[in-house]
């Protein structure tokens, strides 16, 4: 049986030749993402800004009458709703800010939800209320700060772990790569205005974990090669390491993408944003492992001595120390 080989044997692509251009592009992308977030903002869901979201399905209508809905809900006097399709064209979410004073008197939020669902049921007999999410200002602030802390915490904890397992340069490289991944994902959400909710924080953390997977596989090979080829030029060595792990990188990325495509096409609509973010994250994560995490090692002057001296010195000390103790 002839087996599939995605990457031919002895592939040797000079990835690192393009490192300056790649890093320049990456930095531009990071800045661009930040500018996008600053300018367009993120389309925060009720999880993070508070408010109320009502999800409905029009069971007999092919297309949900979004414009009409917007007018009708707006006419109730609670301000303009954010109405979005999710999944099928007959499924919409209606998002409202909580009415003034709702933090003191939750009854106000209930009344608002009742009025909206009442109007929907009266005007559209085929409407089905699929869910109501109502989050107070206080809880949404907590969810936001928890989300931020989990991202920051994960990045720092992982960096620390890599620093301990490898060297500080590798920790710095991983942190930079992660920063790149997270920034670009934020930029993606600012660009597409997909709803940014709790699920997306989960997606971000998964992207962080996945991107790290790639980075560690490359780093592990760099460490191994640094010990093996002590005289090799660092750029050639990094290229060798990336090429040696390339087959694995491609294969794993593809299996991830295959699983994610299934999720995007056939999966539940509620987690579309999550799956889309992950899909993008696979590309960003793979790219950053090669073009962000690796070149930084050159600039931080990682060389053959980064790993060998402490071990070799330690080993020798023991050998020399041994007989003295006996004597």
């Amino acid at each position: 049986m002839k087996l599939l080989k995605l990457v031919p044997d002895n592939t040797n692509i000079a990835f690192l030749k393009w490192r300056n251009i790649a890093v320049a592009i990456s930095i531009l992308m990071i800045i661009g993402s930040m500018a996008l977030v600053a300018q367009r903002g993120l389309n925060f869901g009720v999880d993070f800004v508070g408010g109320q979201m009502i999800r409905t399905t029009f069971t007999q209508t092919a297309d949900a009458p979004i414009t009409e809905l917007r007018e009708k809900v707006g006419a109730l006097g609670y301000g303009d709703p954010t109405i979005q399709r999710f999944g099928q064209p007959n499924e919409v979410s209606i998002r409202m800010k909580l009415p003034e004073g709702a933090d003191q008197d939750p009854e106000l939020a209930n009344t608002m939800a009742d009025q909206i669902t009442g109007m929907l049921k009266a005007d559209y007999p085929d409407v089905r209320i699929d869910g109501v999410d109502s989050v107070s200002g206080k809880v949404s602030e907590e969810l936001l700060s928890k989300g931020v802390w989990s991202l920051v915490g994960a990045m720092l904890a992982i960096t620390l772990y890599i620093w301990i397992r490898f060297e500080w340069q590798f920790g710095a490289g991983a942190l930079f790569a992660l920063f790149h991944d997270v920034s670009l994902t934020f930029g993606f959400f600012a660009l597409t205005q997909l709803e940014f909710n709790l699920n997306i924080v989960a997606a971000l953390l998964t992207i962080i974990g996945y991107s790290l997977n790639d980075t560690i596989v490359v780093y592990d090979r760099i460490r191994e090669n640094l010990k093996k080829y002590r005289k090799m030029d660092i750029i050639a060595l990094l290229d060798l390491s990336v090429n040696e792990t390339l087959a694995r990188t491609v294969m794993t990325s593809l299996t991830m993408l295959v699983a994610l495509i299934a999720l995007i096409i056939w999966g539940p609509d509620v987690i579309f944003g999550f799956a889309a973010a992950m899909f993008l994250g696979v590309f960003i994560g793979t790219y950053s492992s090669v073009y962000m995490a690796a070149p930084i090692l050159i600039w931080l002057k990682v060389g053959p001595d980064s790993f060998v001296p402490p071990e070799a010195a330690g080993g020798q000390a023991e050998k020399i120390g041994g007989p003295e103790e006996v004597g």
């Binding site: 049986m1 087996l3 599939l4 002895n10 399905t57 939750p106 939020a109 209930n110 009742d114 089905r128 209320i129 699929d130 869910g131 109501v132 999410d133 109502s134 107070s136 206080k138 809880v139 928890k146 989990s150 994960a154 904890a157 992982i158 772990y161 890599i162 397992r165 709790l198 699920n199 924080v201 989960a202 953390l205 998964t206 974990g209 996945y210 790290l212 997977n213 560690i216 596989v217 592990d220 191994e224 792990t245 694995r248 794993t252 299996t255 295959v258 699983a259 994610l260 495509i261 299934a262 999720l263 096409i265 056939w266 999966g267 539940p268 509620v270 987690i271 999550f274 799956a275 992950m278």
Partner: protein, 534 residues
């Protein structure tokens, strides 16, 4: 590599069999596993509310309310005890400003006596011996009683415990199945009710404090003052929406009323004369005696029935009510009367609770999510499996076998811990499929590499597993770190994702590294191939 002792094979196989066995009940949700033999495990995974449909409601109490209620109770006990003291201690200028109670003892010779009365009221029941209140005497005759932080904390804690019990009783009374009611943090209660038809009714019921009071109406008060909300000394004004006189408020005597927390039963009924829905209540012995005394001494006068600070009705006491039961009228519908009787039966909440977060998912959407999640999982898994076999042949097949086992193991471990499967959790499953094979990809690619370098079959496999393990270990640890942070800071469904992710990482390392290694070793030992198709 070929050296794979029999005891290892047996223990790995047993472990796998156990995991698969534990996963079986969860695969057959619902009725079918009722008919299973008793020796099979019956722990199953819980379905999250986003899959089963239902309501998640987060309630929060304001600690300041507890403090205020506590201060009020303190004032009442101080008044009562000072009056009861022998000789009676006259106090005045009582105030509850700034969270402290202060009053003056009119006769300065009674200061010590007053202190003796006060002492037992302010000592905590706790084992720490810490006081619940501090007593201070200023300017010789002014007492200042201020709550200590320990006392306050304790009070909030007790109030929340009671509130949790009350909530549980109320939900049980509604007849909902399998509600989850948990205290969260210092001042919150999480209520989760699966498959609820009408979440509005639930919220209404939970939001009701159900503090019932009977107080005498102060009919001497000036109606104009009452309308403006001013009350004469010794009285207080309550809103009275259904007041027949047309005023929005009514004045009642501050003292001499009784509270309705001493009930043994409450039920919805109809007024025999008007046929209007009412709530019939039955006092316990102590409450019945108090109520009898109140009605006996005030025949011919009206008393107000006050629920949560709003007057429901103010009937005349036509005759003493001695039987220990009473009827509460108010402008009720049958349903409202029913709800109120549930609330009264389960007791008053010691503190007002507010809904700060609510998430309701309709059962249709939940079922739809499960169906779509399953379809995506099956297609995604099938595609990955095919991909692995096409790429790695026999080794891909081993990896697939390990992956299938891994899915059972995740379910099994989740069932053992009674973990909750949420919608993001299903996504976690699919991602685990994608990433679990990564370990095998790493190993297999390494074996290919070692073969290219000219190593012999057994040696290549050996080195492949050994060299790949390091990266697999490091990569999975970092994933666990991300998963743990998600678990710690995440909430609800996202937590469900973190659970699947963490369990999946642990089980996948076991199946992808240990189990495939065993399979490969057994195969190598049996056939001793000279060539490797990989």
């Amino acid at each position: 590599m070929l050296d794979f002792p029999r005891w290892k094979v047996i223990s790995i196989s047993l472990l796998l069999a156990f995991g698969v066995l534990m996963s079986l009940p969860s695969l057959f949700f619902g009725e079918s596993h009722k008919y299973w033999p008793a020796f099979l495990p019956d722990e199953t995974i819980n379905l999250g509310l986003d899959l089963s449909g239902g309501s998640h409601i987060l309630l929060e109490a304001e600690p300041a309310d507890v403090a205020e209620t506590r201060l009020q109770t303190m004032e009442e006990s101080v008044r009562a005890e000072m009056r009861r003291a022998n000789p009676r201690i006259n106090i005045g200028d009582i105030s509850r400003r700034d969270g402290v109670l202060s009053f003056m003892v009119r006769d300065s010779t009674q200061v010590d006596a007053a202190r003796d009365v006060l002492e037992p009221l302010t000592t905590g029941a706790g084992l720490t011996g810490q006081r619940d209140w501090d007593i201070e005497v200023r300017d010789d005759t002014r007492f200042v009683v201020s709550p200590t932080s320990a006392g306050l904390e304790n009070a909030v804690d007790n109030a929340m415990d009671t509130a949790t019990d009350v909530i549980r009783r109320r939900i049980d009374e509604m007849g909902t199945r399998e509600p989850t009611i948990i205290r969260q943090g210092d001042t919150r209660i999480v209520v989760q009710v699966p498959g609820l038809e009408d979440p509005e009714a639930l919220k209404e019921l939970l939001g009701k404090t159900a503090k019932l009071e009977f107080k005498l109406v102060d009919f001497e008060a000036d109606p104009n003052a009452i309308a403006e909300g001013r009350a004469p000394v010794g009285s207080q004004v309550f809103p009275y929406p259904d007041n027949p006189s047309g005023l929005p408020n009514i004045a009642v005597k501050r003292l001499g009323g009784i509270s309705g927390d001493k009930l043994t039963d409450a039920g919805q009924g109809f007024d025999p004369d008007t046929n209007a829905p009412v709530v019939n209540i039955t006092f316990d012995t102590e409450g019945g005696a108090k109520f009898a005394r109140l009605t006996q001494n005030n025949v011919g006068r009206p008393f107000a029935i006050i629920l949560d600070g709003v007057v429901l009705s103010a009937p005349n006491i036509n005759e003493p009510i001695l039987g220990g039961s009473a009827q509460i009228s108010g402008n009720f519908t049958v349903e409202e009367a029913n709800q109120l009787s549930i609330a009264l039966r389960s007791g008053a909440l010691p503190v007002e609770l507010q809904v700060v977060e609510e998430r309701t998912v309709g059962p249709d959407l939940g079922a739809d999510s499960i169906r779509k999640g399953m379809i995506a999982a099956i297609i995604g898994t099938a595609a990955v499996l095919a991909f692995m076999v096409v790429t790695y042949g026999r080794f891909g097949f081993y990896a697939n076998f390990a992956l299938a086992l891994n899915l059972f193991l995740i379910l099994g471990v989740m069932a053992i811990f009674n973990a909750t499967l949420t919608l993001p959790g299903i996504a976690g499953f699919i991602l685990t499929v994608g990433s679990a094979v990564d370990a095998n990809v790493l190993i297999n690619e390494r074996i290919r590499e070692e073969r290219r370098r000219g190593r012999r079959v057994v040696q290549a496999v050996e080195v492949g597993y050994k060299e790949a393990s390091r990266a697999i270990f490091d990569a999975n640890i970092t994933n666990v770190i991300a998963g743990l942070l998600l678990f710690i800071f995440g909430s609800g469904p996202v937590r469900g994702f973190a659970v699947v992710l963490i369990i999946g990482i642990v089980t996948s390392v076991f199946t992808a590294v240990v189990v495939t290694r065993m399979l490969v070793a057994l195969w190598l030992r049996r056939t001793r191939p000279q060539e490797l198709v990989i």
